[in-house]
Symmetry: C2
Subunit: 305 residues, 2 copies
Amino acid sequence: MSSGVTVAVVGATGAVGETTLKLLEQRRFPVKSLHAYASERSVGKTVTFSGESMPVEKLGPSSFKGIEMAFFSAGAAQAKEFAPIAAAAGAAVIDKSSAFRMDPKVPLVVPEINAHALRGHEGIISCPNCTTIITVMPLKPLHEAGRLRRVVATSYQAVSGAGVKRIEELRVQTQAWARGEKIEPKYFVDQIAFNLIPHTDPFGPDGYTGEEKKLINEVRKILELPNLAISPTTVRVPVFTAHSIAINAETELPISPAREVFRQFAGLQVWDTPEQNRYPCRSQSKARTTASWAASARICRIPVR
Amino acid sequence: MSSGVTVAVVGATGAVGETTLKLLEQRRFPVKSLHAYASERSVGKTVTFSGESMPVEKLGPSSFKGIEMAFFSAGAAQAKEFAPIAAAAGAAVIDKSSAFRMDPKVPLVVPEINAHALRGHEGIISCPNCTTIITVMPLKPLHEAGRLRRVVATSYQAVSGAGVKRIEELRVQTQAWARGEKIEPKYFVDQIAFNLIPHTDPFGPDGYTGEEKKLINEVRKILELPNLAISPTTVRVPVFTAHSIAINAETELPISPAREVFRQFAGLQVWDTPEQNRYPCRSQSKARTTASWAASARICRIPVR
């Protein structure tokens, strides 16, 4: 145990934090020692890592002494306060919040696409929005093959992307329905059970939600196409985990067939044998839905006809 | 009761047939007498019309004597067999199935858009697919205002559009989930509870489902734009009633703002005050979800940016 990395997971009791711990374990990340941090109200709870129960520690200014790598999934406000402290203490911060995504000094990284952006980072590395990730993954090889001209992206976002409280809300509302009881929205702005909510984030004055703006800005930054024409519509659907997105993309050059371009791109799997009922669908992709951002993408037809 | 219309409802025990009876009643359609027809296995059942219980009669070649108007919602095979018989007997047939939609001699009508197509009909009038209707309704005024160039349409289709058995299947699967039991798909090709199924119809060799082909062909026929570029993606979602569709449309001429164009079109309602949480959403539109095709449309941003 003398080799390996000293790791902090910040927001360890949240949906993303729990999944981070699971993935570090599953992927045998060389952890030397691990600290699980959360806000004061989670202190007293425990998390499990490598079969051991660990106390959750209160996040504070001195939490990062000796930490080499810090995974932040504590929300934007916490990230803004503590990520710079962690970075100053010498940690490489990988932040899942929106706090630093559009900061020009912070790389916004999807490893399969722009790992090169990590070079020369100043201590904070940002992860994109969950829907951005499943959108850029197929767009990158399309762009390389034929230069993207414009993109229409329409999402079907699971409640997992909205955090543990809202995952629980879908469960609670559906259980209430099953007992014949009235459904009362609590965290979502409207009923989510058996309903769609286009209000994934507040709507801005231009009619786009925050989520849609994130998609526009983050896709442009990751693909290094600051003027890419992209029209997103993001919708929350009553699904527990795994986001889906329907993409219509137009390229400068013809690409045929697009599925070959996808097949050759590391990190994408093409499931396209509908005659065997095999295409991305929840019950076929359980293994791939352990994280809200490790979601499945369904790429739809490229040409407008 | 000496004036009024002699009406037949064919497929009276199905989801659409039941709704047809309800609408005839709600809208005080001048019914002189009414016959409720269904297949042999529904004989013995009753339906309710204007507070009275009526026996379901077996559909047969002599069912249409004296019938002036016949509403068919019995599926394509039944329609192909019996609609010509009804028409020959003098009835005006309004068929909800796909049987005659693309027949050049049969008008395919959305009353707000192309009532003129009814002129000179030969006894059979076809209703479009549910998703087609909510797609053409906003496209028509956009086309009139600025000439459509291309359309990307992405659907979120409720189980109601797939008939009573599948409505029941969402209910049964969700109840099984609530009891902690295993979910077994029966009519849908996959689990529908907490899942999305892009397989709304069989996939064809070109990768489009039957539902998507219907959308392409029917939109072109209704709008009388045989070469309209349209790229659809249709997805079944775990919602009981009310289809939604996200549309990205490009026009030859600039239209600004598009919502004014929609406001002035009879049959469309613009719900677009998100600051009051008012936009099309299930729990706000109960009154509008009585029929699977009387669904809500959400028109999304027009420009690709």
